[in-house]
């Protein structure tokens, strides 16, 4: 097992203490995001030197772009799914001595400044995990169809998990290392979002939602949820439930 990295001073790190900076790991799962991952990572490493990109078997130059932009890049030998990529990133970060771990989307929908606020909220509340919510915050330009679909998904997830949240499918999360150690994401596909919440409930993790801003671009909208994804999520959730009977 590797030694944790020594603390480094980070100039102008936007309010994050220099020692905490290297213990704070941001995990970004990426699959064929060569077009945008460079920009996303450049914005992140300015604030968070321990940015880890998990390339989920991309066919494009995602790994190279992420590495050139300054991230530590892990590469899955085959495509496993976003949930699996996040878990790999979390396991890696814990082995490197992370004290806090954030999950962050690759496509530029999230803001590093929201991560700062979430970390502060986590510390202030003594929580185990903080979840970003676009419906508490902002999501300018969200298409009506997407909003409707999300609201339905949120209602479905709230009912099936028994946890009341305003945004269950937000990839922006900040958690303590302890929480990360307890969580075990086994749903490789898109159903991992509900799995995070189910486990938060089962492990009785202290959680809260924080308003965040989602930037929709034509790129991210094209890649977003659609009907076939929704059906796949339903079958994944069904399989996982049947396996427990």
């Amino acid at each position: 097992m590797s030694e944790p990295r020594p603390a480094r001073t980070v100039e102008g790190a936007g309010g994050v203490a220099s020692e905490a900076a290297s213990d704070f790991y941001v995990v970004v799962a990426a699959y064929n995001e060569g077009a945008v991952i460079g920009d996303t990572v450049r914005e992140l490493v300015r604030n968070f030197p321990s940015t880890v990109v998990v390339d989920d078997g991309s066919e494009d130059d995602t790994s190279q772009q992420a590495a050139d932009a300054g991230a530590t890049v892990l590469r899955h030998p085959i495509n496993l799914g976003q949930g699996a990529a996040l878990q790999t990133g979390m396991t890696f970060s814990l082995r490197r001595g992370a004290k806090y771990i954030a999950t962050f989307d690759a496509d530029g929908q999230h803001s590093p400044s929201d991560v700062h606020q979430m970390l502060e909220a986590l510390r202030a509340a003594g929580a185990d995990i903080v979840l970003g919510s676009r419906f508490l915050g902002e999501a300018p330009g969200i298409p009506f169809g997407r909003k409707l679909f999300l609201k339905a998904a949120i209602l479905f997830t709230n009912i099936t998990t028994g946890v009341k949240l305003t945004d269950t499918h937000n990839g922006l999360r900040v958690m303590t290392a302890d929480a990360a150690r307890k969580l075990k994401i086994t749903q490789s596909g898109m159903a991992h979002a509900s799995e995070f919440i189910e486990q938060i409930k089962r492990l009785r993790l202290k959680h809260l939602e924080v308003p965040v801003r989602i930037h929709y671009t034509s790129y991210s909208l094209r890649k977003g949820q659609n009907v076939s994804n929704a059906l796949r999520i339903l079958t994944d959730v069904f399989s996982s439930k049947v396996m427990k009977w």
Partner: protein, 113 residues
């Protein structure tokens, strides 16, 4: 008589397969045992099938046997699906270990491949 033996063997094989799979859950095994047991009973006592058929609202005993076989097939498909899910999980763990081992051996370098 021959066809009854063949059908019985077929049903028992299906049941054995379902039981042997690690991915099978207790409920699935119970369901399979129930349906197969019922199937074997109907194979050997076809005259009784009319009673059950009428009770279940099905036209003929032969139809009931056919429907039961469909149910058995569906349950088998479910067992296979769960097996695939389990395999995918194992594959994921393996791929993750490879990824992390490469990361460890790459040392302080940025890109690990």
């Amino acid at each position: 008589m021959v066809i009854q033996v063949i059908l019985t063997l077929g049903l028992l094989l299906a049941l054995l397969y379902a039981f042997v799979q690690q991915a099978s859950t207790r409920l699935l095994r119970l369901l399979m045992a129930g349906v197969v047991g019922f199937g074997i009973y109907m194979v050997w006592f076809p005259s009784h099938t009319m009673v059950f058929a009428r009770f279940l609202g099905v036209g003929r005993g032969a139809d009931l046997i056919a429907y039961s076989w469909i149910v058995v097939s569906f349950l088998l498909i479910l067992v296979l699906h769960l097996r695939t899910v389990r395999l995918k999980g194992a594959l994921t763990e393996l791929a993750r270990e490879i990824t992390l081992l490469r990361a460890d051996s790459a040392g302080p370098h940025r890109s690990v491949d």
